[in-house]
Symmetry: C2
Subunit: 152 residues, 2 copies
């Protein structure tokens, strides 16, 4: 008995898992010089869009839990990219704000998306397929993220 459905090549999740790993690693040449990791880059993207956010908002944005985000932010605070201050209206909150160093990194990072596109085009021929997948990925993400929206 062979169990076709158990063959690795028939596993869609394995493709997703591998493609994600490899894509993240494709960022390394551009993130290493900035001294940040990919998840840290994601945090910066969020803060560059809107500075001064509580931990939970950043976590929601990245679809991660605070037990992942808190240590991540602590490491980034340690390396001088951001600050975590007590919230005033809600003292439970920790407001995360960029330092000068964190803000300044945006200038150095602004070309990363195009660099990565170029890198992917160079290695795979085109970036079209990747863009084509976006709606399907979004649908998958929306379905699998157990957001309580819809339960008033």
């Amino acid at each position: 008995m062979v169990y076709e459905q158990l063959k690795l090549n028939n596993q869609l999740c394995f493709r997703l898992y591998t493609a994600a790993r490899l894509t993240v690693s494709a960022y390394h040449p551009y993130l290493d010089p900035l001294g940040i990791t990919y998840p840290q880059y994601l945090v910066l993207l969020v803060l560059w869009e809107q500075d001064r956010q509580p931990v939970c908002d950043i976590a929601k944005r990245l679809m991660l839990d605070t037990n992942t985000v808190t240590p991540l932010l602590q490491r980034m605070e340690k390396s001088g990219l951001l600050m975590r201050t007590k919230g005033k209206t809600d003292t439970r909150q920790r407001i995360v704000s960029l330092t000068e160093k964190g803000t300044a990194l945006r200038e150095q990072a602004k070309h990363i998306p195009e660099c990565l596109s170029a890198s992917i085009i160079e290695k795979t021929g085109s970036v079209e397929e990747l863009a084509t997948m976006a709606p399907a990925l979004d649908k998958l993400i929306e379905g699998l993220s157990e957001r309580q929206i819809g339960f008033p």
Copy 2:
């Protein structure tokens, strides 16, 4: 200055990264009862296809390095799923073979792929888009994996 290209929602890799995370976590309800993790499930898929493989072959199959796979296999040996014996023809190699327990798990796991499909269909409406992405993912994986094939 807003830098459209630095907006999180415009980051294709973030989608990929998130979708992969969420999809792996969708396996939990089915893997937890078997006492294995998703990467361990992948190792088992490889060994169920072909038992008795050296570490490097498993690593190649999963597109991971031995420094990831070795500890993974050590944990699986510890939990009684497989054995790692010295290779005879090449004594550097460690031949990984399933134990009875590891072999038996296949019966319990054989419905996981359909369970997951059903789960994804339930949550996202369909699994078609996911299947549609396969060729694009494969192309991405092939491009980004720096296989030295082609350099004789």
